[in-house]
Symmetry: C2
Subunit: 328 residues, 2 copies
DNA sequence: CTTGAACTTGAAATCGATTTCTGGCAATCT
DNA sequence: AGATTGCCAGAAATCGATTTCAAGTTCAAG
């Protein structure tokens, strides 16, 4: 690998001039050509580490997500990537596994690697962003809010979604509606549950035994559904607060020979590869890709020096009723 | 953010000593304590960019994959991450979208960011790894082979898998067996097709119109299935060479009111969230996570200086017959 | 003809760590 | 006692780019 010094030597100019040519600063046409020729001949690629050390910033943005195996987040990642790529940034994906320690570690790496900015779907309520912000690194919160920090955020309306989903189940004729939500210290879990609670209370159907907390994964959905069905008076419908738990809940249903006509279901978030999914499930569709696109746009604006007050953007969810229930 | 110089000043020692304490080199207990105290007081984190510039290497490994939205690859990523994490490395995920240019760009970034090593599921047959290898950066090929380079590789047996899947369809009583495979310049696509071809020829059922190339995604599977069903004499079964295309093919089937009893199906690779998937599909299960784990182990051995000749590890696939067809 | 504004260019400082080189000091061996 | 070995720690060089500073040119205005 060649350095700027070797290019300079071959072109017969100073390293400073080579740097200027590379960065498009005023240089005479002739020297510019000399440098380009030399660089081509040596297959020169500037060392990003050195550049980043000097400039105190790199063209990399970090996307920190809690579960890389959840299609919701990979879809979001795609959105981020497409925007970032077009703006000349590369994206590194950091998977925290909902673990605050892993999250802290990745954030600290982001600082010490001089990354240009961070898009964060926070694992914990208690992230410490102070070191990042002190260094002037822009951070955009996505999916999960900016816990006490003054940040741009891109969200969906979790409470409204929880309400709509629950109401839809009542509208379909169910009356004992349970809720399987995520870990109690995760904001999205709290809010979706909150939406459910509002509606069941309004309908006089509130029963605290119908509320289950689980991890946001398939096995969590399974376990919670098992518990619900084991109750003395099991619910006749369930609002499940994320896509993967819905998969788990459906598995349990089918394994017991039940269908969504016996036990109604509404899922917050599209079932992954949903065309393989059973009909009869009400879905709150989340604009996953669009969340990513929007977050990336905001971040890049901030990187480019925009310093207006922090914005929170709430994207709309769409609800789709099940196709067969009601018609059959 | 504080630097090693500030820590040195506060501790009353030289920067060199601070560095030595951080790296566990011989330093007297007393100075060591002074340095630790000072570092703690300043919340000092070493600047990775500077370290990496000097050491000519970082603790980051790049995982380059063609499709981040494919659960096969994210599952592999999880495997890589777990091993890397435990060994003190962080993993950055690079999504090439099967685009050789994006791939080349990410590989070049990997070099110029001094990354410790690369795990590559190559998009194209014609990757140029020479610059990487010249710099002594270890590269491990995963899922797709090392095209002409002398690399460690971790693979599954694509030809055997194609054969088994096709044979299973014959065994289930189907006779006109089509193949939906990936892009013709992707090695895994070629080999899975090759396995299919061997078996259909052996059974005297070869018909070139039954071979379709598509991209490795859901829409590719849809398009190919549409074309197959539009043939004068459509096939009565299909071997689909990857998981996402199987999803697409199944969609088309169901939309036309057909089932896997009318048109048999075998999928190379688990259907994503397969418990939602229809029964009646023969599956070649791929050890996705294990591929990642193995690749990461090999890579870390190389990073640590192992220089035995290149190894190729082939992991076993398992086939599972459909549960309902044949029993029903 | 002089002055200075505008533009190129190179030398050298800089980013923040690691590492080599070297000197000082104490312990060990003749 | 004198020579040798070994350890510790500071000064300075180093990684490879960018950027500041200052010098040298050219050209137009006064």
């Amino acid at each position: 690998m060649s350095t700027i010094y070797e290019v300079a030597a071959l072109a017969g100019v100073s390293p400073a001039t080579v740097s200027r040519v590379l960065n498009g600063v005023n240089v005479s046409a002739e020297k510019s050509r000399l440098v380009r020729d030399a660089a081509g001949k040596l297959a020169f690629t500037p060392n990003r580490t050195a550049r980043s050390l000097r400039k105190q910033s790199s063209e990399v943005i970090a996307l920190v997500i809690p579960d890389i195996e959840n299609p919701f987040f990979t879809s979001m990642a795609r959105g981020v990537e497409d925007v970032a790529q077009a703006a000349g940034y590369s994206v590194v994906l950091c998977n925290t596994d909902e673990d605050p320690d892993k999250e802290a570690s990745y954030l600290s790496i982001a600082v010490s690697e001089n990354m240009a900015g961070i898009i964060l779907a926070a694992a914990s309520d208690h992230v410490d962003l102070a070191p990042l912000l002190r260094r002037g690194r822009p951070v955009v919160a996505v999916d999960r809010g900016p816990h006490g920090f003054d940040l741009d955020a891109v969200m969906v309306d979790n409470i409204a979604g929880g309400r709509e989903a629950t109401q839809a189940l009542y509208d379909q004729g169910f009356s004992r509606i349970a809720c399987i939500t995520g870990p109690s210290d995760v904001e999205t879990a709290q809010r979706r549950e909150h939406g459910w609670r509002q509606v069941v209370i309004a309908n006089g159907g509130h029963d605290e035994r119908y509320l289950k907390h689980a991890n946001f994964r398939v096995d969590g959905g399974r376990a919670a559904m098992d518990e619900l069905l084991a109750l003395e008076t099991p619910p006749d419908a369930v609002f499940v607060a994320n896509n993967l738990m819905s998969v788990g809940a459906l598995q349990v249903l089918f394994e017991r020979g039940l269908t969504t006509e016996n036990v109604g279901m509404a899922s917050f978030g599209d079932l992954p590869f949903s065309t393989l999914a059973p009909r009869g499930v009400t879905i709150i569709h989340l604009p996953a890709r669009h969340l990513g696109v929007t977050a990336a746009r905001l971040l890049i604006e901030r990187i480019n020096g925009d310093d207006q007050p922090a914005r929170t953007i709430v994207l709309r969810n769409e609800i789709s009723a099940p196709t067969s229930v009601g018609s059959a």
